[in-house]
């Protein structure tokens, strides 16, 4: 069993993921319950939400797997590097699941004001994936032994700051910048500014993941 699958197996035996999953469904259904629902604007909102929910899911896993269990699974996976790849794979898995749900739900239920085109879906998928990656890697950086309340406070502050900074900083504002670029993009198109914002967000996620890795190695 791979490290990511083992971690997932442990967390699924608990109820830790119930809260983020339930709240995510509630949030997405709630967002689309009231009209109007412009395609790009609505995707922009759920993209920022995926950053938070991916962080929550990753934090759930990191906190369910005890240090002893994590150490044993790391050895079984083949070492610290393999375990790290597993952690990143899990971030990727959560990002994909969240993206699929956030795109599929409104599209399947006809919740949008107009039918989303392929360009809309592509832009939405990109935005959701990179926002979730930023949230997930941020949760890795803020994993144990940091206290849960501290970690969640930092995650919320970072995401709120990212949204607040989206206007002055534009594409470099992380998830907020991606959401802004997406909501400003022409209908059914993947704009250059969205691609640039996604590239910046991917770089930020990479930097967060690298920092988390260095921190983990430093702690010993």
């Amino acid at each position: 069993m791979s490290f990511a699958a083992a971690q997932l197996s442990l967390v699924l035996s608990s109820r830790r993921v119930l809260a983020p999953v339930t709240l995510l469904i509630f949030a997405v259904v709630g967002i689309y319950f009231y009209r109007p629902n412009p395609v790009q604007g609505s995707f922009a909102v759920t993209a920022v939400l995926t950053a938070f929910f991916c962080a929550w899911l990753v934090a759930s896993v990191e906190r369910e797997v005890t240090p002893a269990a994590g150490a044993i699974l790391t050895v079984l996976a083949g070492g610290a590097v393999a375990a790290w790849r597993g952690r990143l794979a899990l971030v990727g898995l959560f990002a994909i699941v969240l993206t699929v749900f956030c795109l599929a739900w409104p599209t399947a239920t006809g919740a949008f004001d107009r039918s989303p085109g392929l360009g809309d879906l592509l832009a939405g998928a990109l935005a959701h994936l990179v926002c979730a990656a930023v949230g997930g890697t941020l949760a890795l950086l803020l994993g144990p032994p940091l206290r849960t309340a501290t970690a969640f406070t930092v995650i919320l502050v970072v995401l709120i700051a990212s949204i607040a900074a989206a206007s002055p900083l534009e594409i470099v504002a992380g998830p907020g910048g991606v959401a802004r670029a997406l909501s400003n993009a022409p209908d059914d198109q993947v704009s250059a500014s969205l691609l640039a914002a996604c590239a910046v967000a991917v770089t930020e996620a990479g930097a967060l993941g690298f920092a988390a890795r260095v921190q983990s190695r430093w702690r010993g």
């Binding site: 069993m1 083992a6 035996s13 608990s14 005890t66 269990a69 150490a71 044993i72 050895v75 083949g78």
Partner: protein
């Protein structure tokens, strides 16, 4: 050779616990790693097992590695049997009193669950078992069972390294690694020597200061091999 550590530096944060540590673990060896509290035994175990990478140097493992950390705690809601499946030994025999959620098990019982998983593949000849205080929390029967299992896997060609701060095992190690004199206590020494010592049938590898070596020699130890560390 099943495990080879070369010039390893073990550190936690800004604290360097061991520097330039080297070790070779052969098939059929039962090695006792000992030393004072805080000298770096558990950190060294973590590095040798691959839980964390060494700050410097390298560790090469050629066999399947099983690691049991100290103070084992498993996720409370996890069924013990699922832990065995996660560890890839779902078919291993689990006593009925352990077949519950881990939160309902005592520390000693959780230790037994982890040891059951770690020893399940003990019959594999080229396996490495790194056990950090594995007897802690076990009752007398479980301790004896573990001793018997370890003797069996070593006889089968596996290599075992353990720590036993509480002197809870009756096993006689084929080699003892003493970190006390080579770890933190010797950190300020000007002249450190890596020495292989022998006294009767007992052998030990230590990184040791000149003065500590003199004390050892007056205690009946003989030098097998000596290298200068710094």
């Amino acid at each position: 050779m099943l495990l080879w550590a070369d010039g390893v530096t073990v550190a936690r944060g800004r604290t360097t616990l061991l520097e330039d540590f080297s070790l070779q673990l052969e098939a059929g060896e039962l090695v006792h790693l000992r030393g004072a509290n805080g000298c770096g035994k558990s950190s060294l175990m973590r590095v040798l097992a691959g839980v964390v990478e060494p700050r410097r140097g390298s560790v090469v493992r050629t066999g399947r590695c099983e690691y049991v950390p100290e103070r084992v705690t498993l996720p409370e809601s996890l069924p013990a049997r699922r832990w065995l499946r996660v560890c890839g030994v779902g078919g291993a025999e689990l006593p009925s009193e352990l077949d519950r959620r881990c939160g309902a098990l005592s520390n000693g019982q959780q230790q037994r669950v982890v040891l059951t998983a770690a020893m399940a593949d003990g019959s594999l000849p080229a396996s490495i078992h790194l056990l950090d205080e594995p007897w802690a929390g076990l009752d007398a029967v479980a301790r004896d069972t573990l001793d018997a299992n370890l003797t069996s896997v070593v006889a089968g060609g596996a290599a075992v390294m353990y720590t036993d701060h509480g002197h809870e095992t009756g096993l006689v190690a084929s080699r003892t690694l003493d970190l006390t004199e080579g770890g933190l206590e010797a950190a300020g020494s000007d002249a450190l020597l890596r020495v292989e010592l022998r006294r009767g049938g007992e052998r030990t590898h230590v990184v040791i200061s000149d003065r500590a070596l003199a004390a050892r020699l007056s205690d009946g130890w003989e030098i097998e091999r000596v290298d200068r560390v710094q």
